[in-house]
């Protein structure tokens, strides 16, 4: 249980990434400029708070019932961004966001993964419900984003195709 802090200086990789027109517009990719780990902090993450049972479920309904005690209704106000085809199923960028007010929780589920619940977040007042992260998808699956707002559950979903990589 060693804890090593990572101290980084200004990244040398702040530069424009040029892409050919075949892939659409050129993009600006900016590496994080300053990464400073200056001190060790108290560990506030509490293992006892982990909803282990919800994460052990193999269906969306069971996972959400245990996590939130209910089922979501589809809502266009839940926005999610996930690729149509994952370039690698081990690292699939998924972003969820919503314009809804009073959001207290956001969850991501991968329906055809061995365990359905992938991640869940508690959103305190003042925190934006938009969260970007990267998920592992075991195979082609529907990814569901769930937002809890005013005690009610809303969802959006998107199928993500996971193909076998061809290159060794």
């Amino acid at each position: 249980m060693t804890k090593t802090l990572s101290m980084m200086e200004r990244s040398p990789r702040r530069r424009e990434v040029l892409l050919g027109a075949a892939a659409g517009a050129a993009a600006l990719v900016v590496a994080p400029a300053v990464l400073t780990g200056t001190a060790q902090a108290a560990v506030t993450a509490d293992a006892a708070a982990y909803p282990a049972k919800a994460f052990a479920q193999t269906t969306e309904a069971a996972a959400l019932k245990i996590m939130y005690g209910g089922a979501p209704t589809h809502s266009a106000a839940v926005k999610m961004n996930a690729p149509d085809i994952a370039e690698n199923g081990a690292v699939v960028p998924v972003t969820v966001d919503t314009s809804m007010a009073n959001v207290t929780s956001v969850a991501l589920l991968a329906i055809d993964n061995p365990f359905t619940m992938a991640a869940a977040y508690k959103i305190p007042a003042g925190t934006n419900p938009g969260i970007s992260s990267r998920l592992k998808l075991a195979k082609t699956t529907k990814v569901v984003s769930v937002v809890q707002s005013g005690g009610k559950l809303y969802s959006a979903s998107k199928p993500v195709k996971v193909t076998l990589g061809g290159c060794g």
């Binding site: 001190a39 506030t44 993450a45 992938a118 925190t127 990267r134």
Partner: protein, 103 residues
């Protein structure tokens, strides 16, 4: 094993955006090693971010979160120099934390 956490927080128009990359294998328990033995599950269960002592995000993760997890979110308020800290605990009881300042 050394636990590393890279964190980057910056403010713009009253919002603080936090990005973090956490070094962790996030083993799912469904993958075999070269010898054909199952690699036991080893993943972060709880990750928490605090700003000036107040919790701004609590994440619960399962084994479906990618290796070396990345997370990005934002919260209202926060100013340059404010302390931001992150800590995590995994299913084996290992834990780590780091503190930084908003740019």
């Amino acid at each position: 094993m050394a636990h590393q956490i890279l964190i980057h927080a910056s403010t713009a128009s009253g919002m603080t955006t936090v990005e973090a990359l956490v070094k962790h294998p996030m083993d799912s328990g469904f993958v075999k090693d070269k010898a054909g033995k199952i690699i036991p599950p080893h993943y972060i269960e709880v990750i928490e971010f605090t700003h000036a002592g107040k919790v701004v995000l609590t994440g619960f993760w399962g084994p479906a979160v990618s290796k070396n997890p990345f997370i990005k979110f934002s919260f209202k308020g926060g100013k340059s120099g404010d302390p931001i800290s992150v800590s995590w605990v995994d299913n084996k009881g290992e834990k780590a934390s780091v503190s930084s300042n908003i740019m």
